[in-house]
């Protein structure tokens, strides 16, 4: 196709947005609502992910060492722990520190403690793990290290967290899929009405020998144009609303004070990705919806 004729089709597509203003506005709002719902689902999923990661980071395995080991064994245990692929950090907690802490924790037992012939507390390594779902296997590996007496880990807490995370991931994924499918169906219907209103025009094009591509390009451009506009609007509304919510939580909501504000995704960190994703998704939904909707009318 000649460039001049292609440009003509692009102009016609953009012109159609304004010529069929009512239909364009209807399609724009349908796309906007769909993109807002999808965007909010993604942001909520990202927030849940950040919150879960923060909680998981607080998760630790305590590795207790036999009381009579020498420095070489302690070094060997440290190396073994430090080399484990699932460790995030390893902190040594000496028996003296542990004994002091225990005494401070229970001042009413001070007299009783004085009767003890020696410090009963063991040396301890506190290991935080990267992948909470493997906490059980990691603890088992730690048990096999020479000089290790006992390993404790919050298995129930870990498995509960893993369950919550996988359930939330499935729910967020399902919501996202439903949103995308619903959006495509609604957009398909909105654009189909717009295309139906111009079925006579399409018929004329086909009768005079227009190829399918020639008929579809203006509709494709029109759908993409509306999609990008809806994407940009969706980004703007999400940005304003989300930032207002973060501000609200910063001031009032106790639970966020517990997790810390770092538990929420900061919109500024994702703003350009979000704008690009919104515009691309909007353009794709608009264009694909248009292509599917025109298909039936192109067959003359």
């Amino acid at each position: 196709m000649r460039m001049s004729n292609f440009n003509y089709l692009v102009k016609r597509g953009v012109g159609s947005v304004f010529r069929n203003a009512m239909m364009s506005i209807a399609s724009f709002f349908v796309l906007l609502v769909s993109l807002l719902l999808i965007g909010v689902s993604v942001l909520v999923a990202m927030d849940i992910n950040v919150i879960m990661t923060n909680i998981e980071e607080k998760n630790e395995i305590d590795v207790y060492v036999y009381g009579d080991v020498d420095q070489a064994v302690l070094n060997h245990i440290y190396d073994a722990l430090d080399n484990n692929p699932n460790r995030m950090s390893v902190v040594f907690y000496s028996k003296e520190e542990a004994w002091e802490d225990k005494q401070n924790e229970m001042p009413e037992m001070k007299e009783l403690f004085e009767y003890l012939p020696e410090n009963p507390m063991p040396h301890t390594y506190r290991v935080t793990v990267k992948d909470i779902s493997k906490i059980s296997e990691t603890a088992d590996e730690f048990r096999t290290i020479e000089g290790v007496e006992k390993v404790t880990a919050p298995y129930d807490f870990a498995s509960a967290l893993v369950n919550i995370r996988s359930t939330l991931t499935v729910i967020a994924g399902a919501i996202l899929v439903v949103m995308v499918i619903t959006s495509v169906i609604i957009i398909y219907n909105a654009i189909r009405s717009s295309v139906f209103a111009r079925s006579k025009e399409i018929n004329i094009m086909k009768v005079v020998g227009a190829t399918n591509a020639f008929v579809k390009i203006p509709f494709f451009i029109e759908g993409m144009f509306i999609g990008v506009a809806a994407g940009a609007a969706s980004w703007f509304i999400t940005k304003i609303t989300y930032e207002a919510l973060v501000q609200l939580f910063r001031e009032d909501i106790t639970i966020w004070q517990i997790f810390g504000l770092s538990s929420m995704v900061q919109f500024d960190d994702v703003t350009w990705y979000f704008l690009a994703a919104n515009c691309i998704l909007g353009a794709l939904l608009g264009a694909v919806g248009t292509i599917i909707s025109t298909g039936k009318y192109v067959k003359v």
Binding site: N5, R19, N203, V208, G209, T211, V300
Partner: protein, 228 residues
């Protein structure tokens, strides 16, 4: 050239068991001919036109138009075949959002002609139908006769080998009908084959020439009459 060989068209209709729209029809129209196709409602005129534009396929038999064997024509080749035809309809089928000039230019863009060619060709064909002064008007601002002249200009713009006119005078003033046929005759004199379907027997008697009369899906008459 148009050729129909032993063509049957049978429409499947669940309630009635089916309708025979055309029965063993044989027609040959040579290049440069002007043919009127007449017949009552339901005689098979519309079916015949749909066959010629490959909107439908025959149940049996073969249809050749402009060297294309329409029974074997692949769908992706269909647009290129249709570019060898010029179509004129009773309801004009102009694009209401385009001006007269743009409506004619549109078909040239469809067949991917250059800007330069379009700038030369459109005024030429508009001049032929005497509508150069209405080039900037929209179809809604024109009379029925003028709209049909735009449709003729559009059909002729691509320089087709055949023009197929489906009741082109059906929606216009009877007096203007004669002008429309004269215009088609002018185009025919340039070498373009014209096939015109009409109900208007007065027109046919007035102009004469080759007449094909369809009746109940068959050819009742195919011959020449003298004009008045």
């Amino acid at each position: 050239m148009v050729e129909l060989k032993n063509v049957d068209v049978h429409y499947v209709d669940g309630a009635k068991g089916g309708v025979d729209a055309l029965n063993d029809v044989n027609i040959r129209v040579n290049d440069g001919e002007f043919v009127f196709i007449v017949g009552d409602s339901g005689a098979g005129k519309s079916t015949l036109l749909k066959l010629l534009t490959r909107e439908i396929q025959p149940t049996s038999g073969r249809v050749f138009v402009n060297g294309y064997n329409l029974s074997k024509l692949r769908n992706r080749k269909l647009p290129y075949f249709r570019r060898s035809l010029g179509m004129i309809f009773q309801d004009f089928r102009l694009i209401p959002t385009l001006t007269v000039y743009e409506n004619v230019a549109f078909v040239l863009r469809v067949i991917d002609k250059s800007k330069k060619y379009i700038r030369q060709r459109v005024p030429y064909v508009l001049d032929l139908v005497k509508l150069n002064d209405k080039a900037k008007a929209y179809p809604g601002q024109l009379s029925g006769g003028e709209q049909q002249r735009v449709a003729i200009a559009r059909a002729f713009a691509c320089d087709p080998k055949i023009i197929i006119a489906d009741e082109p005078t059906g929606n216009i003033d009877p007096k203007l009908s004669y002008e429309i046929v004269e215009l088609l005759q002018d185009i025919n004199e340039c070498g373009t084959t014209v096939i015109m379907v009409t109900h208007n027997h007065d027109l046919v008697k007035y102009f004469g020439g080759r007449i094909i009369n369809l009746r109940e899906g068959g050819i009742a008459f195919d011959g020449y009459i003298e004009g008045e």
